[in-house]
């Protein structure tokens, strides 16, 4: 874009955001960022005022996760900026592209412990790809453009740009020549020798299993993943971040892998002689005890980030490069390769597991698993689900039926409670015509409950499916199983009246506690036009099964409590 009349730094920020294709930003104003908010008056860029900066960061993440585009959040200096930290780290852990813009005290005040001053770039350093303070307005556009490039990849992630008030007020030329500068080295391909090694390994395989992670989605390589596993006819599984990457209804998809994964998935990986790991990072919630994970297998690991190779699990073949490019080459070469038939193994792998084990609810009471089974049965196929963190997250991940890789949104790596509702707000901003549901527990929901006001103000049609078991359920479960039932500070039996609270915000809400009323209530909930809340009062002692205890193996998986609580027995 050519230079034109001069602007303020704040106007330049908005011009760059617009030019980068940003449609909406999530934020919260304050003193140091006031010049930017002032420039937003009558500016076409849409701004969503959340009720806490943490929610702005999560919402930017939800927007990015549901679209693949860069999410943008903004906050003022000091506490505004520090409140973004969790949402930014959340994006870092799951490789989600966001750009965070923070106001900073004026340059002359920096380092003086001025009002609402914090060394934000240092605080944000370890939780971002890059964290930069703009000290000269002449650098502003270049830095912002670079922030978008770096956020997008090759491995996406968060970038922070901290802008002092005087820089936002300073005059500068309005846009220059940086706009057209493309991202460097986005299509790296693995070397031919590594590709040859991978093919050779697959040729000798008898029991190969593919694992897909969030990297396939980030690289827009999901269609290639589906093509690859169909061509090979191999069983495949997904990390929680890879859910939705398998083709809908694919009988060779074994379900989610890991601590609370499907039995067939975990057992198949345990029996595999070759594991094809695509865009995943062997998180400890996936591997359990690393030296026992896939102990019979040789690992082919494809990832854009070389630092992931061998980080947790030794790798036989490392395919470093853009996953889309890697899979394109693999598919092309495998089409001409003589490979064994893996169909019988795939059938056997599927048969390794059975249905998900679940605790039974006492007479007439609701179980969370029944609620989620019924919800996924009535929800439209293209529903976007954003979960919070805890038991409900795992139950939802086990049961989700995402037909699209961006339809299941969850805080996987960081496990940030309070994520679900704001992430759904971010998602709905890009998908107003879709059903967007925040599946929350009673703990996490109360961390972001003020965002009901955001739903009301913008009439965002987010549905909140509240799984209320009156406990911090996942911690309670671990206390039951691993801490001799010493329940320390996990009792939320004095929860507030959530229906009344939602009503106070002007949001339609209903409570259901009788299993016989569940189906009709869910039908009404899913079909509600605007924002809505369905408060499901579930029995408190329900656990997530299966569970591979931390540091254990698939053979140690638990499918029921050794000593069930009286309400469960």
């Amino acid at each position: 874009m050519p230079e034109s009349a001069d602007a303020t730094g704040a106007q330049l920020v908005l011009d760059v955001l617009t030019d980068e294709g940003v449609e909406v930003v999530f934020g919260y104003p304050g003193g140091a960022i006031m010049p930017l908010y002032d420039a937003m008056v009558n500016h076409p860029l849409e701004h969503i005022l959340t009720r806490h900066e943490a929610a702005a960061a999560f919402a930017a993440g939800g927007y990015a996760r549901s679209t693949g585009r860069v999410g943008v959040c903004m906050a003022t200096s000091g506490p505004g900026a520090t409140n973004l930290v969790t949402g930014i780290l959340d994006a870092q852990m799951d490789s989600i592209p966001i750009v965070a813009i923070t106001g900073q005290v004026r340059t002359a005040l920096m380092g003086t412990d001025g009002f609402q001053e914090a060394d934000v770039t240092s605080i944000m350093g370890p939780v971002t790809k890059r964290s930069v303070c703009v000290r000269d307005v002449r650098d502003l556009e270049r830095i912002l453009r670079a922030a978008f490039r770096v956020a997008r990849g090759p491995r996406p992630g968060p970038v922070l740009v901290d802008i002092p008030t005087d820089i936002l007020k300073a005059r500068c030329p309005r846009m220059d020549h940086f706009a057209a500068r493309p991202l460097a080295a986005t299509s790296e391909r693995p070397d031919d020798a590594a590709l040859d090694d991978a093919i050779a390994l697959l040729r000798t395989a008898k029991k190969p299993v593919a694992i897909v992670g969030g990297g396939a989605r980030s690289a827009n390589a999901v269609h290639l993943f589906r093509e690859l596993v169909a061509m090979l006819d191999i069983p495949h599984t997904a990390t929680i971040n890879g859910l939705g990457c398998a083709a809908p209804g694919d009988p060779k998809f074994l379900g989610m892998l890991g601590m609370h994964g499907w039995k067939a998935a975990n057992l198949a990986v345990n029996e595999a002689d070759v594991v094809l790991a695509l865009g995943m990072r062997f998180d400890d919630r996936v591997t359990g005890k690393p030296d026992k994970f896939a102990r019979n297998a040789q690992i082919i690991h494809a990832d854009v980030d070389a630092s992931e190779f061998g980080k947790i699990i030794p790798v036989k073949v490392a395919l470093r490069g853009d996953l889309r490019v890697t899979l394109t080459h693999l598919v092309r070469r495998l089409a001409d390769a003589q490979l064994p038939q893996f169909g019988a193994w795939a059938d056997a792998a599927k048969a390794l597991g059975g249905p998900l084990p679940a605790d039974r609810a006492p007479n007439g009471e609701l179980s969370a698993t029944d609620v989620l089974d019924a919800f996924f049965a009535v929800a439209p196929d293209d529903t976007i689900v954003a979960t919070d963190v805890g038991q409900h997250q795992m139950w939802a991940a086990q049961r989700q039926r995402a037909i699209h890789p961006r339809n299941f949104i969850t805080s996987a790596g960081l496990g940030s409670m309070g994520f679900g509702l704001p992430a759904a707000i971010g998602a709905v901003m890009a998908h107003r015509d879709r059903t967007v549901v925040a599946v929350c527990g009673d703990g996490g929901f109360q961390m972001s409950i003020a965002e009901l006001a955001t739903l009301r103000r913008y009439e965002l049609p987010v549905k909140i499916l509240l799984i209320d078991n009156h406990r911090l359920g996942m911690v309670r479960q671990w206390q039951e199983l691993f801490y001799d039932k010493r329940y320390s500070h996990t009792d939320l039996s004095d929860n507030p009246d959530f229906v009344a609270i939602a009503g106070g915000y002007g949001i339609t809400a209903e409570r259901v506690e009788d299993a016989g009323e569940l189906r009709d209530a869910l039908e009404r909930f899913v079909r509600a036009k605007g924002p809505a809340l369905l408060h499901c009062a579930c029995f408190p002692a329900e656990n997530v099964w299966p569970l591979i205890p931390p540091g254990a193996t698939v053979h140690d998986a638990m499918e029921a409590s050794p000593e069930p609580e009286p309400a469960v027995a």
Partner: protein
């Protein structure tokens, strides 16, 4: 392990030190020279071989982002 690193933003040293500590490594020698548009650091790291390998890979990623930010 000795690495010669080119940084466009000298504050990257803060990240390098933090990362080194996080991975259970340390540095025994650190030299930094300012050039016209970048900084050249030579750092001697010590630590378990696996951790040093991870450190090397993560520093490469960090420096790539630094290079991109400077464009």
């Amino acid at each position: 392990m000795q690495l010669s690193l080119v940084m466009h933003d000298w504050r990257l040293l803060e990240r390098i030190v933090g990362l080194t500590n996080r991975l259970g490594c340390a540095y025994t020698n650190l030299n930094v020279h300012a050039g016209e548009s970048h900084y050249h650091a030579t750092i001697d790291f010590v630590g378990p071989p696996d951790a040093l390998r991870r450190l090397d890979a993560q520093l490469t990623r960090l420096l790539n982002d630094d290079k991109e930010m400077s464009r």
